[in-house]
């Protein structure tokens, strides 16, 4: 977490055309209730608008929700945009309908953690708290694949 802050700041966004925002909104509300500052962008964002918003809002974490299978290209584009803006150090987490066989490529693309259907909001809260704490201590190299159950084959 940034030093001058009491609370983690999280950007919750949906990139692309899918409008199923129940998950994104439930998570956004849950994070807020857990004491975080949440910036909810609404639906139909582009990778560049999310990257810009993340920098403008100076967030600690970006949370992306994806429900219709467009996650891989979307994440790759987002990472490219972040890189172009020198903001690759902002961890990106992903939730929604993500087949397990995509976990590997998504992590390779730079996703810190993936929360599949059924993940509890409190797990997401704990994870965010852990990575912002790690970041506070040791710079930008935060959170890469700490979960044990990521070897599922689809």
């Amino acid at each position: 977490m940034k030093e001058d802050r009491q609370r983690a700041r999280v950007l919750v966004a949906k990139i692309g055309l899918d409008g199923h925002n129940r998950g994104a909104q439930v998570v956004a509300n849950g994070l807020r209730e857990a004491g975080m500052e949440v910036i909810y962008t609404g639906i139909r964002q582009t990778p560049s608008s999310v990257a810009r918003a993340a920098i403008q809002e100076d967030v600690d974490v970006i949370g992306i929700s994806s429900m219709v299978g467009a996650h891989l290209p979307v994440i790759k584009k987002l990472m490219k945009e972040l890189e172009a803006l020198n903001a690759s150090d902002i961890p990106v987490i992903l939730g929604g309908i993500i087949p397990e066989e995509d976990y590997g490529p998504l992590r390779e693309a730079g996703v810190s953690e993936i929360f599949p259907p059924g993940a509890a909001v409190k797990e997401i809260v704990q994870y965010i708290e852990s990575i912002v704490k790690a970041k506070e201590g040791s710079g930008p190299a935060a959170g890469s694949g700490h979960h044990a159950d990521t070897d599922h084959q689809c």
Binding site: G16, L17, G19, R44, P99, H152
Partner: protein
């Protein structure tokens, strides 16, 4: 034994054996009695003749047909359509050969939003959530070898582009040489719920509502076999709404549509019989059964009392049902077959006319062929092996079901009154009232799970530690997007550009003049104008809509 004595016995039983929960309530937080009897039922003001009647008679609580499924089973649909038109064509032929009687055409998101496959916004989403359709050319391929009159019904999810899909079907019918009197197209064409739950809107609510009614008006005058609108509660339910909210929101939206249609001078009895409603069916079995019965009765009363309908057909609500996505788990996915079975049972006991069952793997992907087959066979098993379809309204007269039915109606009517006081559905949605209520309910649902107050098997209890989730995920063929784009470019090079220009110009002119858009849209379709081109013309007139972040 009298009631008082029994109450004493009951207290003793709780004392000796404890109770699982301090309070029992339905999904909609209706508090449940220990047991239902005539006294409990009378507390809800139950009137046998007024509230119940017989199947096929007003107020249709017991079903819209006297013989219900003794005459014929419900329509068994399955949602399909993915990738490119050829793949969808193949899947449709397969489903028809397996005894499916209706086709449901799922559209990819760019298509639903009027975005052409080669636009930047479409990148990565072409052919993902459904089939990519740019123009009449794609429709010709999807229905190659499938005359439009072969299935009993063809259903499509077009909403923001509802009237454009209607135009494409009319154009396709002309090309196939099939008289529109011989086939039946069902358009979802319900834009209002998109602002609440699914998010597939293009234009602002007010012109969009009028655009939807263009299709209703045009079909009423020219294609009375078509179903030009399906008013949906299911998406709002999936977005978090409770059963009571689902009923109230859907019927309030119905009022907004009917008001617009009646305002154009349509006779209620000319179009109301062709309106369908679509509801969800989560796991709380008895509340769901009661919900369908309450919904039908409220529809009947609304049509008769508020709109002065004369024909019984106007008062009979055709209900289509989709089983529910949010009740399925990615953990132990085979369990979803059981969930879908129970949900389907609820829909049938509730008297649905059409049912689509989710496939067990839908929570992680678009269904594989095997999962889709199990979902369809679930319906055949329920229909043919259980006997549940052999009596009309088998739960009618149950003290519990009738009490719940009355309670749901009472609560939904009160919420509808609140919506009216806000100026009706369109205004209430614009100011985020529906959204606020359903998001609050979704948040509570999630919290109940996390606190362990709500048990979801395999998720927060009875977990399989170290579970390996093995689902055979259906993959959209790589390169679909490239192929679709190539075809689009080929089309644009082949078609007559002057004719396209002329038709799009006419569309703009007629919409600006306030005329019904359908004749011009059909000409655009026949000229192979793309859906995207038609939407750009409409957006120039109406503007485009963006979500308000204030909704959460």
């Amino acid at each position: 034994m009298d009631r008082e004595e029994w109450k004493n016995l009951l207290s003793l039983d709780y004392k000796n054996r404890g109770r699982r929960k301090p309070i029992y309530h339905s999904e909609s937080k209706i508090e449940l009695a220990d047991c239902y009897d005539p006294e409990e039922l009378m507390k809800t003001g139950f009137d046998l003749e007024k509230d119940l009647g017989l199947p096929g008679t007003f107020p249709f609580t017991r079903g819209i047909h006297p013989a219900m499924y003794r005459a014929d089973f419900w329509i068994m649909g399955q949602y399909a359509g993915f990738g490119n038109p050829e793949a969808t064509n193949e899947r449709f032929k397969y489903l028809l050969s397996k005894g499916q009687t209706a086709l449901a055409l799922a559209l990819d998101l760019p298509t639903q939003l009027g975005i052409e496959s080669d636009e930047e916004l479409a990148d990565g989403e072409v052919g993902k959530a459904g089939v990519a359709i740019n123009s009449l050319k794609d429709m010709e391929e999807i229905f190659d070898g499938i005359p439009l009159n072969k299935p009993r019904q063809i259903f499509t999810t077009a909403n923001a582009i509802g009237p454009i899909m209607l135009a494409l079907f009319l154009a396709l019918g002309e090309k196939q040489g099939i008289d529109p009197g011989q086939y039946s197209v069902v358009l979802q064409n319900d834009i209002l719920k998109e602002y609440v739950a699914r998010g597939a809107y293009i234009f602002p609510p007010s012109p969009s509502l009028k655009f939807s009614i263009d299709a209703v008006e045009f079909c009423t005058h020219h294609y009375p076999r078509f179903k030009p609108i399906v008013i949906c509660g299911s998406h709002m339910r999936q977005g978090g709404a409770t059963a009571v909210q689902e009923v109230a929101f859907t019927l309030s939206n119905a009022e907004a549509y009917i008001d617009e249609a009646v305002g154009r001078g349509l006779d209620i009895d000319d179009f109301a019989p062709f309106i369908e409603c679509q509801l969800s069916v989560p796991m709380n079995l008895f509340e769901e059964v009661a919900k369908y019965r309450a919904f039908r009765r409220m529809w009947a009363r609304m049509l008769k009392e508020r709109y002065q309908a004369k024909k019984p057909e106007s008062m009979k609500c055709f209900i289509r049902v989709y089983t529910t996505g949010y009740t399925m788990t990615a953990q132990q996915p085979l369990n979803n077959i059981v969930r879908v079975t129970i949900e389907a049972l609820g829909a049938i006991l509730g008297g649905a006319q059409s049912l689509s069952c989710n496939a067990m793997d839908e929570v992680v992907s678009i269904p594989t062929q095997e999962a889709a087959r199990v979902a369809l066979m679930t319906q055949h098993i329920l229909a043919n092996e259980t006997g549940i379809a052999d009596v009309a309204d088998p739960l009618g007269g149950s003290y519990y079901i009738e009490s719940l039915t009355n309670e749901i109606e009472k609560r939904a009517l009160s919420l509808m009154e609140q919506i009216r006081q806000k100026g009706g559905a369109e205004r209430a949605i614009e100011e985020g009232f529906y959204q606020m209520l359903s998001r609050k309910a979704a948040g509570e649902y999630q919290q109940e799970i996390e606190k362990g107050e709500r048990i979801i098997v395999g998720l927060n209890k009875f977990r399989e530690e170290k579970e390996k989730i093995k689902i055979d995920c259906f993959k959209v063929e790589e390169g679909v997007q490239v192929k679709v784009i190539e075809k689009l470019h080929h089309l644009k090079a082949q078609r007559n550009p002057d004719e396209v220009e002329r038709c799009l110009g006419r569309l703009e002119q007629e919409v600006r003049l306030g005329k019904n858009s359908l004749p011009a849209l059909r000409d655009c379709a026949l000229a192979y104008a793309t859906i995207g081109e038609m939407c750009r013309v409409l957006g120039k007139i109406w503007g485009f809509y963006h979500e308000g972040a204030k909704w959460i």
